[in-house]
């Protein structure tokens, strides 16, 4: 019953976010600030993780090719498919749920605890629009992060495959181009947009409606990470079934 009430409150919150918009000159600054915090500030960790994940996928694929009948271009093919379909959009989103999600929950939660949200409301500001809307808009740039993650992941696979002696560069590139279906990129970007909205709104919900003090801010951050990850995984399954099934 509590879960149902929370889901209901979440959708009411989403509706409120789009009511009584904040003045554009103020909102513009907030959006730029959030793009810097949420998108630009996450590039380093995303590039680092994607590079090594791509490398690990290439090495593991190579190590599992025991039959001489299987072509070596499978390493490039498997890396491309794994990175584009799952590792870049889904794995990166789970990382972002931890990094960006906990930042969103703790910053909004701290504002709740220190009555800064009440102060906004009393001034006549729609606090949900002021706090959550810029995060949603900033996260619409998330597919760019995913595109970078795809590129760097495949590059990591190429580096590991070629410099690890598992594949020649020509074989790897041939595998990358083999049976390429452009819709897989579209599918990946559709997923990343949906995940971006989840990463912006679920942690905001947990921060905005939290009760208590500093300890509860920490608890809310953990809870928001768990729920964002759970929802991402469920939505990933549903979208995969709908778009590729």
């Amino acid at each position: 019953m509590n879960y149902l009430a929370s889901i209901g409150s979440y959708f009411i919150m989403i509706k409120e976010v789009f009511k009584k918009p904040t003045k554009w000159s103020v909102m513009k600054q907030l959006i730029l600030k959030e793009i810097d915090e949420l998108i630009y500030g996450s590039l380093g960790i995303i590039i680092f993780i994607s590079f090594f994940i791509g490398g690990v996928v290439a090495i593991q694929t190579a190590l599992n090719i025991t039959s001489p009948l299987i072509p070596r271009n499978l390493i490039g093919f498997a890396t491309r498919q794994s990175v584009i379909l799952e590792f870049a959009p889904t794995f990166t989103s789970i990382i972002m749920a931890g990094k960006v999600g906990s930042y969103i929950t703790s910053s909004i939660g701290t504002m709740r605890v220190t009555e800064q949200i009440d102060a906004l409301e009393i001034m006549g500001v729609n606090s949900l629009n002021y706090l959550v809307f810029p995060k949603i808009i900033a996260m619409l740039f998330y597919p760019f992060v995913i595109a970078i993650a795809m590129y760097v992941g495949i590059f990591g696979g190429w580096v590991a495959g070629v410099f690890g002696g598992f594949s020649s560069s020509a074989d790897f590139v041939e595998g990358l181009q083999l049976d390429f279906i452009p819709f897989h990129i579209t599918y990946s970007f559709i997923k990343s947009i949906v995940f971006a909205l989840l990463i912006a709104t679920i942690p905001s919900f947990h921060g905005y409606y939290m009760k208590g003090g500093a300890l509860e801010v920490g608890k809310a951050s953990t809870t928001s990470f768990v729920w964002t990850s759970v929802v991402i995984i469920i939505v990933n399954y549903v979208l995969t079934q709908l778009l590729l099934g």
Partner: protein, 255 residues
């Protein structure tokens, strides 16, 4: 003027406000006092519209809050200023940024006009040197003064203060009390203060409401509170030996 008519508020099975009525006049400093758990904070949050009442009405110069649409309620809130117990300053903004915030949100003033207005109110609360500092870099008393400056920057009709001098030393507390009282008269604001501080009661309490168990137990001024025979009020106000002696001296002087 704010008129409160028989307001009730419950949270689950807990009936916090059980029918409180009163009115708060323009240009006067009105104090809400009472023990912890008496319903003071809930009462002030109902006045601010942060809690909706279960029964009864609150009207601001004739406008009944519960009958206004969501947008009208937000517009009315723009006429309110609030000083929170913990100041509630925005950590990411400087003192000047905090004071300019409502101007940036609701006016079409240029940056220099907003800075001029912020400087006027910061000067009024004696904080002109701190305008480039962040809230974490200034003392609790200074934070309260910034909160007052932010609350009055839009020339509000109504000013609400929740424990404005809690956590402050007695000298600073008196300074804050006097500042709020002066601003109330100067700007002709309806001010409502939620307090535990007996110095505030004696110094600036032009109208005092004593809440007990969610009911209005007593109402009067700081002059009348000396004379009252209401046992609950005298027990609360004169709980310290010092105030008991002061009251005794006052009564003896009168006799």
């Amino acid at each position: 003027m704010i008129e409160v008519n028989n307001i009730h508020k419950s949270f689950g099975d807990t009936h916090v406000l059980k029918g409180v009525s009163s009115h708060f006049e323009k240009g006067k400093t009105n104090l809400i006092i009472g023990q912890s758990g008496s319903g003071k904070t809930v009462f002030i949050k109902c006045l601010l519209g942060l809690f909706s009442t279960d029964e009864g009405t609150i009207s601001y110069d004739g406008k009944i809050y519960s009958e206004l649409t969501g947008d009208e309620q937000r517009d009315l809130r723009q006429e309110m200023g609030m000083v929170f117990q913990g100041s509630a300053l925005f950590d990411s903004m400087t003192v000047e940024g905090n004071v300019m915030f409502p101007l940036g949100m609701f006016t079409k003033q240029s940056k220099s006009e907003m800075q001029d207005r912020a400087n006027i109110v910061l000067k009024r609360v004696n904080l002109i040197d701190a305008h480039k500092k962040f809230p974490s870099e200034i003392s609790g008393g200074m934070q309260k003064r910034v909160a007052i400056a932010r609350a009055i920057v839009m020339n509000p009709k109504y000013l609400f203060c929740d424990e404005p001098n809690s956590g402050l030393d007695p000298k600073t507390a008196i300074l804050i009390d006097n500042l709020i009282h002066e601003i109330t008269q100067e700007y002709d604001i309806t001010t409502v203060i939620n307090t535990h501080d007996m110095n505030s009661v004696m110094e600036i309490g032009e109208k005092i409401i004593f809440l007990k168990n969610g009911l209005k137990e007593w109402e009067g001024s700081n002059k009348e509170i000396f004379k009252t025979d209401n046992e609950a009020v005298t027990d609360f106000v004169y709980s310290s030996e010092l105030f008991k002696k002061v009251r005794q001296m006052y009564i003896e002087e009168r006799n």
